[in-house]
Amino acid sequence: MSTVTTRPADTAAPLPEGLKQRRLPSWAPLGIAVVSVAAAVGAGMLFGLQSKVQWGLIAALLFVAVSFALASAVEGRRQAKDRLATSLVWVCFLLAVVPLASLIWTTVGQGSKVLDGYFLTHSMAGLLDIQPGGGIYHAIIGTLEQVGLATLIAAPIGLLTAIYLVEYGKGTLAKAVTFFVDVMTGIPSIVAGLFILSFWLLMLGFDYSGFAGAMSLAILMMPVVVRSTEEMLKLVPNELREASLALGVPKWRTITKVVLPTAVGGITTGLVLAVARIAGETAPILLLVYGAPYINNNPFEGAQSSLPLYVYQQYVNGNAASYDRAWAAALVLIIFVMLLNLVARGIAHWKAPKAGH
């Protein structure tokens, strides 16, 4: 009995002086942050620095310096280094969040100015650049058709390649395909555009069209589809394949009826994310689709437009009415891409493999 009662008393006893460390109070980082932001605002006003970027940088530097100095005075060198790292990491995070938040904030704020039903349902036909009004109907049509065609081309090729890599691929060919799929992911979009330009337009002699743009988008989309599908197929447990093959089911039926349905959620997610990625591509569209101001429903003939290209053209026009239209189209584009991303994540969540297989 006596041993049981003495133990807690032992640990509760005060530590010897050498093991105790003086610590800054837990509210210290917050306090230092408030003080340094206040000091930066004060300095900014005092010296008349007009750019808020500088205010932020001064606050960040002050915060890092003050917390390091305080910690090394109170807590010692090692703890001070730890504090320094912690405050640097927080500053990094805030440094990154500020521009990204500003990007979203500006786009929403500027974009909602002219965004309304009229803007969504009218084209720019017969309108001068400097006139207000007009809309993005033709660009929405173009984006949907080009992205749709690109998906029709890239999805089957990407899926089959992934199936090859996971289910069949062995040896040099599979290794080469894997490597070049990786490398292909990094092809600049403008290079894909130049390739279709030299192949489809200059060599085969076709004219600008939505389809030409769609082909270059397909090149950008293929490696993304391959990569995501491959990852998903690898997650399918081998027992499922073996069980099916053991029942005498041919390999291709096993793949189409057992492997693909098991991975369908992840594959769809990957596809939607790939679509979201190419929907915002501007450079190849600029080279291949040309950008018509009027509605052209036929992607196989004549110039079309697309949302990202529309944003660029309106920016290049360089007047107030054009800027408003550019922001509004950018907002529509961002909403479209974000919706696709959310849908993809929703599918992934909903179709996530259930536990216990």
Binding site: K81, L88, E167, L173, A174, V191, P250, T282, A330
Partner: protein, 346 residues
């Protein structure tokens, strides 16, 4: 010695034949072979189609190189200037005079600025998400960073040109005044709007931040718990844990993530085309407007290009293609080597 006697006892194959009530062996075999014939055809078609798609991808990669190279040779053989050292880009003129010196310089410099800013910050954010952020915050932050990686580059470009450029004026003046002696921060015309390589570098840094962060965070999350706990048990502070176990483990991950980011920065078109005021000058003053990059030059000069102009742009695109190919290939090789030797996968 026992073997022969045992073989005598083993039943001969006919004993195992199905009872007479079921199908005779002959028809059963025929049906099976017909079915396997169909299956084999199906299998052959499917295997062929999937292998064909893989080969098609390789063919596309090869075709990109070949077609760009063909047009590029046309342009380069007609070029009156030196393709590598000429500053100006007069590809539409007769005779055409153009060179990639300014473009190569601008591409490399803006990408270096972007990397210098983005890599440390991205590593910081990745550490923040994986080791510093409150657990409840970490997941949403990672999700938001994922979303930001999906923002189209033209929107970064629009924001950069209409919002970032005016807001950087003050910083530019300050850099010019206090760091002007370093030459690179010396601004020749302090009143000019900062549509410079420096601004482009900052914008590219913001753009590649999400990608580098995502890849680095994935690697940091794979650090074996045992390494970190061992360091903690030795009394290490959180920073010492990171320096001793997380960073060494994640080093090759950081390198490959940075190179993926570099690949994107090198090939970025629209954000540069909107922000930079291009001109054929090559200057060490990073804050001065002017210069150009491969991708920006293609996007800006394409509309006015004649046949020769287009071929010249394709030639510059080929150079860009080769550079990004090398950078991405190197990144992938580093990742592959890391996978083979990493203890985490064992």
């Amino acid at each position: 010695m026992d073997t022969p006697s045992r073989s005598e006892h083993t039943p001969s194959p006919p004993d195992l034949v199905t009872p007479p009530g079921l199908t005779s062996p002959q028809t059963g075999l025929a049906a099976a072979s017909a079915a396997s014939g169909r299956a084999r055809l199906g299998d052959r078609l499917f295997a062929g189609a999937s292998k064909g798609s893989g080969i098609l991808l390789l063919v596309i990669m090869a075709a990109i190189a070949v077609f760009l190279a063909v047009r590029a040779t046309v342009a380069i053989s007609a070029n009156e200037g030196n393709f590598l050292t000429t500053f100006e880009w007069n590809a539409n003129a007769n005779p055409p005079v153009f060179g990639i010196a300014v473009l190569a310089y601008g591409t490399v410099v803006s990408s270096i600025i972007a990397m210098v800013i983005a890599v440390p910050v991205a590593v910081g954010i990745a550490l923040f998400v994986s080791h510093y952020a409150p657990r409840r915050l970490a997941q949403p932050i990672a999700f938001v960073i994922d979303l930001l990686a999906a923002v189209p580059s033209i929107i970064y470009g629009l924001w950069g040109a209409l919002f970032l450029v005016p807001h950087l004026t003050g910083l530019n003046l300050w850099l010019d005044e206090y760091l002007g002696w370093t030459v690179i921060f010396d601004k020749t015309n302090p009143a000019a709007t900062p549509r410079s390589l420096f601004t482009v570098g900052i914008l590219l840094a913001i753009m590649i931040l999400p990608i580098i962060t995502n890849v680095t965070r994935e690697v940091f999350l794979q650090v074996p718990r045992a390494h970190e706990e061992a360091a903690l048990a030795l009394g290490a502070t959180r920073w010492e844990v990171i320096r001793m176990s997380v960073l060494p483990f994640g080093r090759s991950g950081i390198i490959s993530a940075s190179m993926l980011g570099l690949g994107r920065a090198l090939g970025e078109t629209m954000a540069v085309a909107t922000v930079l005021s291009a001109s054929p000058v090559l200057t060490a003053h990073l804050l001065d407007a002017g210069g150009g990059t491969f991708a920006q030059n293609i996007a800006s000069a394409f509309k006015e290009a004649n046949d020769m102009g287009r071929d010249a742009l394709i030639a510059s695109g080929l150079v860009l293609f080769v550079i990004t190919l090398l950078v991405n290939g190197a990144a992938r090789l580093i990742i592959a080597r890391h996978k083979e030797y990493s203890g985490a996968n064992a």
